[in-house]
């Protein structure tokens, strides 16, 4: 319902075109506000669901998003109607954020029209929907961050679609996938094999062949050699789920092999492990189109991975570099134990280094392919990377972490001319450890062996089971402790049934390590005596402490259980978190600052915040531009540090144009007078401003001191009507009230949102308000830190009393969220307020 219907404009004898314009603008504004409240309500609801107390599904996220999108489109339409075409830039920003959102949300992704191949120079991360995250990030690093990234081009998802359509593959693939039982290993192998055969037997359309070859020739013109690697870059890969190492990649591919290798990479979407991975994460294969990156090969003398944080101890202040000689493949597939270095984030001090024995390296062959080469004995224990490059890596890692606002897992290589290249950057998954370490009595437990590296913390117990290849996997029993010489890709298919993994070699940064952490399987690597673990014997693997004990020790398993927030960590919560990243963070806080601009909106919330602010300003600006060339608005004169502009809906401008101020006692609107009396009764809090935690964009909170600012607030008033919007420090409150002789017409609506403290504290403040308001008969909806409360059918006296109370409450709760560190504190304040407000 249009709220303006609630108010019968009584223009009376003052009726003139100015007043009609005010009323028209006010109607637009109210419409915008209503959508704004609606959108904020849904955002609040989503934030609440993300806190872990709820079960929800993907439909929920989609429905919320649809409503938010529709709401924002209406807000933008109204904003443009109110303020003119310059606000169209808001729509541009909206569409940009929305297109990123689409890539975050699994399913319902349509492959967009795009060329079949695109050079990296023309890519950035917003193109992930077309070229996959891996390619898009390389483009981003190259074109936006000017980082040293090899030349290359992407074969797009569109090309994949073209291939699938030309060979009529989709229906045939889907039929087979639908018939598959994910828990049956044989099914995975058999059906995967059938689909791969189908793909390998299908010709690549000629236009695609020529497009690939042409891009290749252009690429080798730009580089000094013709060596390229081809790597999968599936749509959806490395976004919500890592897919680390699930798909094929080929090194040093020759021109004549390009097309066959391309097809093989497409087929690798259907290896048993890849099918298992996408089905176990409830992704449908149709939504994961495959793009391929063709990257100029680095003739690497050393390669490795840098983590911008320690994935199993994020509080640890170090950057981790893993490094080997030659190409990086032997590191990420777990064939070699790498050198490991830890550098302090700030100063780059080397805190730890361990040089591993590296008996072999993988190198490029000049006519295509790669070969393993023995490293001379005396060089095997040489460090594979020097100080200069370590520092360079540290800087890039920090820069990328800052850019993507999350910890990064970055692959790199150093060429024979000593130049460093970055080959990939993706989000690093972090495990939170329990903060209160339990003291365990392990003195009487029999230790069998000790390992070197905790790949994934935790502990698991079960019968020992040795595997050495893919063929051993079908018979792995439920709950086994899996022992392997080195981790290999097929292991993923049994991740969900083993209780721990132990490997002879491998490090923290192999693909299997990433996946083990994703599946929360306690894992240790660097266990030379792994053969001492005899098949069938029951052992307990304490991965946190890198120790393996004989027998089953429940106490260890229990004590070592890492603090996975079950909910936050489950797939659907990650989807919601990623969606919320684009929906709720507020960057635009201060309208007075220069960066309060549409292009700086990083979220939908920013867009609504911007529109809300500007709609208020526009309403007044428009008034200003009217014939009188003067403010139709008045300023409220008050000793409180609040800047309030006032528009009257039922009277024109004062004859005396100099009279720009209204004193508190001259407020004609009764509802406003009562509310204001409540505000004055409490007075402005005199205590010094508390430090404020700005709403975190990433994981951390930044402490910021606040100047106790109060921004543009306003009141739209009639004799019997008030619409007051107050921004008080970090929260804003809107109170709309009608007070007539007729009870049936009367109502009060109040909305309350935001704050400077963390979400849990803001939610507590809303809970407190809700409790108090229910004492005085308000009905209410609470959605996260958004409260929508209302009361109607009240006589004048009741309206007056309630407005007075709301005024007092508004002041009492100003910045109160900072103080509400736990529920007990909140309850204490609730009781205290109820007492002080005389509501007992």
């Amino acid at each position: 319902m249009d709220k303006t219907e609630n108010y019968k404009f009584d223009s009376g004898e003052n009726s003139n075109s100015d007043l009609q314009t005010i009323q028209k603008n006010f109607a637009l504004f109210l419409g915008l506000l209503e959508q704004n409240n609606n959108v904020l309500g849904i955002m609040g609801d989503m934030e609440e669901k993300s806190q872990g107390e709820y079960l929800f599904d993907i439909h929920y996220i989609r429905e919320c998003l649809t409503e938010i999108r529709n709401g924002i489109i209406q807000i933008i339409n109204k904003m443009v109607a109110l303020g003119g075409p310059e606000y169209e830039s808001l729509r541009v920003r909206f569409n940009e954020i929305d297109s990123v959102l689409e890539t975050v949300l699994p399913g319902q992704q349509t492959i967009k029209k795009d060329s079949l191949t695109v050079s990296f120079d023309r890519l950035n991360r917003n193109r992930a929907y077309s070229v996959g995250s891996k390619n898009a990030q390389l483009g981003e690093m190259k074109s936006r961050l000017n980082m040293p990234v090899p030349e290359g081009f992407a074969i797009t998802a569109r090309a994949y679609q073209h291939f699938v359509d030309a060979n009529d593959l989709q229906a045939r693939i889907s039929r087979r996938i639908d018939s598959l039982d994910i828990k049956s290993y044989d099914d995975l192998v058999r059906i995967g094999g059938e689909i791969r055969e189908m793909i390998n037997a299908s010709p690549i359309p000629l236009d695609l062949v020529s497009s690939i070859l042409q891009s290749y020739r252009e690429l080798i013109m730009r580089t000094s050699h013709g060596m390229i690697s081809m790597r999968s870059s599936a749509i959806g890969e490395d976004t919500l789920f890592s897919f680390a190492g699930q798909y094929a990649s080929y090194l040093n591919v020759r021109e004549e092999d390009l097309i066959d290798k391309y097809r093989e990479i497409l087929a690798s979407k259907f290896t048993p492990q890849a099918i298992y991975y996408f089905l176990s994460h409830s992704l449908s294969e149709a939504e994961l189109a495959m793009s391929v990156g063709c990257v100029s090969m680095i003739d690497a003398k050393a390669s490795g991975v840098v983590y911008s944080r320690d994935p199993i101890d994020p509080k640890d202040d170090s950057i981790i570099v893993n490094s080997i000689f030659g190409l990086g493949k032997y590191l990420v597939n777990g064939s070699l134990t790498p050198d490991e270095f830890r550098l302090s984030r700030d100063e780059g001090k080397i805190l730890y280094s361990r040089i591993a024995k590296k008996p072999v390296r993988l190198i490029n062959l000049h006519d295509g392919g790669t070969i393993e080469e023995a490293i001379p004995e005396e060089e095997q224990r040489e460090p594979s990377i020097g100080e200069k490059h370590l520092q360079e890596l540290r800087e890039y890692a920090l820069q990328l972490e800052q850019h993507y606002r999350m910890p990064q897992d970055i692959e790199w290589a150093i060429d024979n001319k000593d130049k460093l290249f970055l080959l990939q950057s993706r989000p690093l998954q972090i495990i939170r450890l329990k903060s209160d370490a339990v003291q365990l009595d392990t003195a009487h437990k029999k230790k069998i062996v000790i390992g070197r590296t905790t790949v994934c913390p935790g502990a698991g117990a079960g019968p020992v089971y040795h595997v050495s290849s893919f063929n051993d996997l079908p018979n792995v029993p439920e709950g086994a402790v899996l022992i392997t010489h080195h981790p290999f890709p097929g292991l993923i298919t049994i991740m969900s049934k083993v209780s721990a993994i132990v490997s002879r070699i491998g490090g923290l940064a192999s693909h299997m390590a990433t996946i083990a952490r994703e599946y929360h399987v306690p894992t240790i690597s660097g266990v030379p005596e792994y053969k001492m673990l005899k098949s069938g014997h029951i052992v307990t693997v304490d991965a946190t402490e890198k120790t393996i004990y004989a027998g089953k020790h429940e106490d260890i398993v229990k004590a070592r259980k890492p603090e996975y927030d079950l909910f936050e960590d489950s797939g659907i919560h990650r989807v919601l978190d990623r969606v919320l990243d684009l929906v709720t963070p507020l960057r635009l806080l201060h309208p007075a600052e220069d960066d309060f601009l549409p292009e700086n909106c990083i979220s939908f919330h920013d867009i609504t915040r911007f529109a809300h602010q500007k709609s208020m300003e526009e309403m007044f600006r428009r008034s200003q531009e009217m014939e009188s060339k003067e403010w139709l608005g008045y300023k409220l004169k008050s000793d409180l540090p609040v800047d309030i502009s006032i528009i009257y809906l039922d009277r024109g401008l004062s004859d005396d144009v100099k009279e720009k101020y209204i004193t508190e006692k001259d407020i004609e609107a009764t509802p406003m007078r009562n509310f204001w009396a409540g505000i004055k009764a409490e007075g402005w809090p005199v205590k010094s401003p508390l430090p404020v935690f700005t709403r975190g964009l990433g994981t951390g909170l930044t402490l910021k001191t606040t100047n106790d600012y109060s921004e543009f607030s306003f009141a739209v008033l009639g004799r019997e009507y008030m619409m007051l919007s107050l921004r008080m420090g970090y929260h804003f409150v809107t109170v709309e009230a009608m007070r007539t002789d007729e009870m049936g017409n009367n109502y009060i609506h109040m909305q309350y949102k935001d704050g400077g403290a963390t979400l849990d504290r803001r939610i507590r403040r809303i809970e407190l308000l809700k409790n108090i308001l229910s004492h005085i008969g308000f009905s209410q909806q609470k959605k996260g830190d958004f409260l929508n409360a209302g009361v109607s059918y009240q006589d004048k006296k009741e309206i007056d009393e309630k407005l007075f109370l709301l005024g007092r409450l508004t002041m009492k709760t100003k910045q109160l969220d900072m103080a509400l560190s736990n529920d007990a504190v909140a309850e204490w304040y609730t009781r205290d307020f109820i007492k002080k407000l005389g509501l007992e």
């Binding site: 709820y54 929920y60 659907i572």
Partner: protein, 137 residues
């Protein structure tokens, strides 16, 4: 008198995410055992092999709907209590669900406490039913 009964739950939802959450909620909030499937078409076969105390199911799923499952339990006079947990909360569905004896009809998203309470109630009803059968015999 305390009955020695296995208290087991079968959960069906085409969204694997949802099943994972359900498993976590049940394992965390109760001592019941839970089995899940994302393929509703498997349900007749599972039910032919095994009896459960409580079934939690979505309504809209490819091939075999939650209402089909309810009907099956109802028509075969099976003892399982069925809780509908769905994103599709039309009145028609709710009426139909209760017509076929659903124990509860819950809209997603749901607070986990609320779900656990509903499961506890359904479990209690199931146990009472078993107890009554025993006494009758």
């Amino acid at each position: 008198m305390k009955l020695d009964m296995k208290r087991t739950i079968l959960a069906i939802d085409s969204e694997v995410h949802m099943l994972k959450l359900l498993e976590q909620v049940i394992e965390e909030g109760s001592s019941y055992r839970i089995k899940t499937t994302h393929n509703a078409l498997e349900v007749p076969e599972i039910l032919s092999r095994e009896a459960f105390s409580v079934i939690i199911t979505e309504i809209e799923m490819p091939g075999f709907s939650g209402i089909d499952i309810l009907k099956k339990i109802h028509d075969e006079e099976r003892a399982e209590e069925v809780i509908i947990l769905t994103a599709f909360t039309s009145l028609e569905y709710a009426l139909e669900a209760f017509k076929y004896g659903a124990s509860d009809f819950i809209a997603k998203p749901v607070e986990k406490k609320r779900l656990v309470n509903s499961v506890n109630r359904a479990m209690k009803r199931y146990e009472d039913k078993m107890l009554a059968q025993l006494t009758d015999n």
